[in-house]
Assembly symmetry: D3
Homo-oligomer: 64 residues x 6
Amino acid sequence: MPIVKIDMLEGKTAEQKEKLVIALYKAFEENQIPKEWVTILFNDNPVENWAVGGEMLSEKIKKE
Amino acid sequence: MPIVKIDMLEGKTAEQKEKLVIALYKAFEENQIPKEWVTILFNDNPVENWAVGGEMLSEKIKKE
Amino acid sequence: MPIVKIDMLEGKTAEQKEKLVIALYKAFEENQIPKEWVTILFNDNPVENWAVGGEMLSEKIKKE
Amino acid sequence: MPIVKIDMLEGKTAEQKEKLVIALYKAFEENQIPKEWVTILFNDNPVENWAVGGEMLSEKIKKE
Amino acid sequence: MPIVKIDMLEGKTAEQKEKLVIALYKAFEENQIPKEWVTILFNDNPVENWAVGGEMLSEKIKKE
Amino acid sequence: MPIVKIDMLEGKTAEQKEKLVIALYKAFEENQIPKEWVTILFNDNPVENWAVGGEMLSEKIKKE
């Protein structure tokens, strides 16, 4: 039954998402939650849609 | 007041969404929830953003 | 695959939710979306957690 | 820790979002919630994905 | 139309939420978004349901 | 930046959630996503709030 929604910064390839999905399913199985029950849904978000720690993510990235 | 968020696989047309919206509003009204109170919001998700039942949706579709 | 999340005001009984679920599944089926694919999840929210139309829902209800 | 997700109609510019973010962070700070703790995430939704008050948002806009 | 969902740590009183709501509506209005259009919904989450920065929030709080 | 929201059936202990969190963070790290960036938030849902595969979860469980 678990529904896992993951908001990420856009830019991950389908292959990167698949590798992450495999690792996440392994994490659930190690915790006695059969992967057959788990739905995972990614949401790709452009950088201008995020603000973290008090400022736009785009500003934060510029400073680093 | 109800807020209904529907994550779907992308590809539905505006017309298909409108027909579904009409049917959903009817379902709420049959249950004494006035449609004036209900907000419905679709989110279209590409196939590579879903994993169900332990594998990427794109893999599952290939097998069927 | 559709995932339907419904935020409602708390207070609906399990029986009221079940009746609404049956009506919603019917709405999906009428639109060629098999009910076997659809997950529905309610979230019950207390009145003090909502604000609509510019004021707390609790204030709005008092006025009506 | 607060996570703020804002579903809006698409069309806001990055500059408009940044101004809104600044105002929202100010609102949190005035309520003793340090902006360093708050994540804000916008989701831009096309008009055909919304239904409010019993009809598609696109219909509602036409009438106004 | 904007829908604002705010996941917070549980413990805020109804009065604290109302003050925050007023400030948030002001933020939207300052950005030409009429408060009549905006729905705000809080979700109160217990400390054991959060993990931030690589550890359970309960662990993080203990260290501070 | 990733925000991971996990809707689960209520009943997991704080200890079970912590073990799952550790495994999920490991999954992100194996995929070059530093755990310092990732927020995880569980939402515990009672059985009467779920419907899957066309029926209430409570009905489904009775049959198994």
